[in-house]
C-alpha cells in the first residue's frame, strides 16, 4: 500500500553509538591530560618535584573524569531509547569535560593561585549541570523506565557536587587550598557511595 519500507528504518535509536562516541571523547580527554605533564628538563629530584603539583592535579582530574565515565555508563546501560535532546545533552556534557585538561594544566602550573582554582570550580559546575540535564533528557525519552527514575532520583551526590563546586569559587579567593579541598571532597563523595550503590543494584546471582 505504501511505498515506504518502514522496516528499514529503526524508529527507535539505541544508545550504542552515543556510548561509543562518548567513550572515545572521554578516553582522549583522560589521556591527553597525562600528556600535559611536561618532560622534566633535568634528571634530578628537583626537576621532578617541579612537575609534582601538576601530577597531583592530574590524579584529581583523572578521578573526576573517571567518575563521570562510571556514572555515564550506569545511566546509559539501563535505557533503550535516545532522541535528539539526549544526543545534544550528551554533547553538552562532553563539551564541559573537554575543558578539564585546560583547567587541570592551569591549576597545576599556577598552583596556590585563586583564579585557576575558581575556573576549575566553574568547569565542575558546568559538567555537573550538564550531567543533570542529560539525566533529565534521558528520563523524558524513557518515561516509563523505573531504573532511570531510581538512577536519577536519589541524586544527593549530584546536589552536593554542584554545591561544593559553587562554594569553591568564592572560597578560592580566600585560599585556593580550600577550593582544592572542595574538589577532593567531591571526588571522595562520588567514589565511595557509587561503589555501594551499583553493588546494591546488582543482587548476587
Amino acid at each position: 500500500m505504501s511505498d515506504e519500507a518502514p522496516g528499514e528504518v529503526p524508529s527507535v535509536m539505541g544508545p550504542g553509538r552515543l556510548e561509543a562516541f562518548s567513550d572515545g571523547v572521554i578516553a582522549v580527554i583522560i589521556t591527553i591530560m597525562a600528556f600535559e605533564l611536561k618532560t622534566p628538563a633535568a634528571a634530578n629530584l628537583h626537576a621532578l618535584a617541579h612537575e609534582l603539583p601538576l601530577l597531583l592535579v592530574y590524579v584529581l582530574s583523572f578521578t573526576f573524569v573517571a567518575i563521570y565515565w562510571v556514572n555515564h555508563h550506569h545511566l546509559l546501560r539501563v535505557i533503550k531509547r535516545i532522541d535528539a535532546a539526549v544526543m545534544w545533552a550528551n554533547l553538552y556534557l562532553l563539551f564541559w569535560l573537554s575543558l578539564i585538561p585546560f583547567v587541570t594544566s592551569w591549576v597545576g602550573t599556577q598552583h596556590g593561585r585563586p583564579l585557576p582554582a575558581a575556573c576549575y570550580g566553574v568547569v565542575g559546575i558546568g559538567a555537573g549541570s550538564a550531567y543533570n540535564l542529560l539525566g533529565f533528557a534521558i528520563h523524558r525519552a524513557n518515561p516509563r523506565n523505573v531504573a532511570i527514575v531510581r538512577a536519577t532520583h536519589h541524586d544527593i551526590k549530584g546536589m552536593f557536587s554542584i554545591l561544593a563546586y559553587t562554594a569553591s569559587i568564592p572560597l578560592a579567593f580566600v585560599s585556593p587550598y580550600i577550593a582544592y579541598a572542595c574538589f577532593a571532597a567531591v571526588a571522595i563523595a562520588w567514589f565511595v557511595p557509587d561503589r555501594r550503590l551499583s553493588v546494591g543494584g546488582e543482587p548476587a546471582p
Copy 2:
C-alpha cells in the same frame, strides 16, 4: 559445484566499523581542539582574557563538529549496506573535519584578521561538500531505501551551509566579523531544525 564458501564472506558490508572509525576520528578532533587552548602564562584575568577568543572559536568549532557527528549518526543508522565509494566518501569527509583544529587555532590566535576567517570558510565548504558526497554515495549503495531519500532530500540546511560558507570567504576581507556571523548562523541553523526533524522522524511510542 564451486570451491568457494560464500557463507564465510559477508557479501554486504554493514556500516558498523565505518561508524566506529568515524566516531574515533571525530572524538579525537573534538578533544584535540580543546588541547590547543594554551595554559595561560599567569593566574590573572588578563591572561585568561588572552585565551578568550580561542575559547569562543572553540565553542563554535565544537558545535560545528558536533553537528556533523549528529548528522553522520542519523545518516548511517538508516542504512544496511556500504561499499568502497561510501568508505572513501566518508574518509574524504573525515579529512576535511581533521583540518578544523588547524583553522580553529588560526582564527583564535589571529582573530579579527581576514585570511584565517576565509580559510575557516574554505574548510566549511570542503566538509559540507564531502557530506553531500557521502549522502550521494550512500544513496547509490542503498537505492531502494526510502529513509535515505528522506534524509538526503530536503537538504535546505546543507545548501544554506555551503552558500553561507562560500559567502563568508569574500566577506571575510570586508570584515572578518561578518564571516564569523556566517559561521554562527550555520551552526544555529543546523542545531535548531535538526532537533525538530529527528523528533518528527520518531513518533511517540
Copy 3:
C-alpha cells in the same frame, strides 16, 4: 564429570576487539598528523604558504593511512578467527603506522631534503611488510577460508608498494622529488584498484 565450564570460555576469538583497537589507533594517528600543522604565526598568505609543504605531505599521509584502514577492514571482515600471532602481527603493523606522523612532520618541515624522504620510504616498507605478515598470520589462523586466499593472493599492489618504497630510498639521495613521486604512485595505485576490487567482490543484490 569435569568441574570446568567450557561453555563460559569462547574457545575461538573473534576479531571484534582487534578491529576496535586498530580503529582507535588508526583514528588517533590520522588525526594527530593534522595537529602537527602548526598554527601560522601571522595572518597572511606568506605564513600560510610556509605550512603548505606540510599540508601536502599531510594529504599524502592521510591517504596512506586511509588505504591501510580500508584494506585492514577488507582483510578482517572475512575472518572469524584470530590467534595470538594475528594479534601481534596486527600490533606490529600499528607500530609502523604510528611512525607515520613522525616522518610526515619531518618531510614537511625539511622538504626537498634526502634523508627525511628516505626515512618515509623506510616506514613505508615497514608498514607494507607488516601488512603482508598480518595477511599471512590471518591465513594460517583460518586455513580453509577461501576469501582470505583471494584477498591476500593477487597482491600485485602489495608487491609494487614495497618495491616502490624500496626504490625510493636510494632515489631520495638522487632527488627527494623522485621519492615523493614514488610515494604518490603507491597511493594512486592502491586507491584505484581497491575500489574496483571491493565492488567486484560484492555482486549487486
Copy 4:
C-alpha cells in the same frame, strides 16, 4: 505485584563498554608516545641520531603497552560479569598506563641517567600491581568461572615482572643500563610465553 520493570534493567553488566573504553585509552596512550618523538631540527643523520634513544625507548614502551592490551583482552574475553570494583580496578590500571608516555619521554630525553629509569620502574610496578588487582576483582565478580582461575593463577610472569621492576629501581642508581635491561627482560618474558599460552588455550578446530 511490583511497580518495577526489572526486565528493562540488565542486572548483570557485561564487559563490552569497559573493553571499548580501555581500548580507546590504550590506543591514545600508544599513539601519543609516538607523537613525543620530536621532529628532528635538521635533515641529517646527526639530527636523526639525536632522536634515536627516544625511538628505542618508544619501541620498549610500545611493547610494554601492547603486552597489557593483549593480556587485558585475554582476561576480559572469558568473563560475562563486571561490577563496580572491576570498573575501578580497570580505571586504576589505565591511570598507571597513562603515565607511561611521561616516563618514556623522560627516559628518552635523559637517557643514561638514574632517576628517570627508576621512575620508569615505579610506573612498571604500579601497572603490574593494578593488573593483579584487576584480575582479583574479576575473579571475585565471577567466582565460578574456571577460565579466570586458569588465567590469573599461573601468574609467574606477573610475579617476575613486579620483581624485575622493583629490582630496577635501586639498580638504576648503580647503572641505568642495568635497569633498561630489566625492562627489556620483562618485555621479552611476556612476549614469548603469552604466545604459547593462548595458542595452547585454543585447540585446533
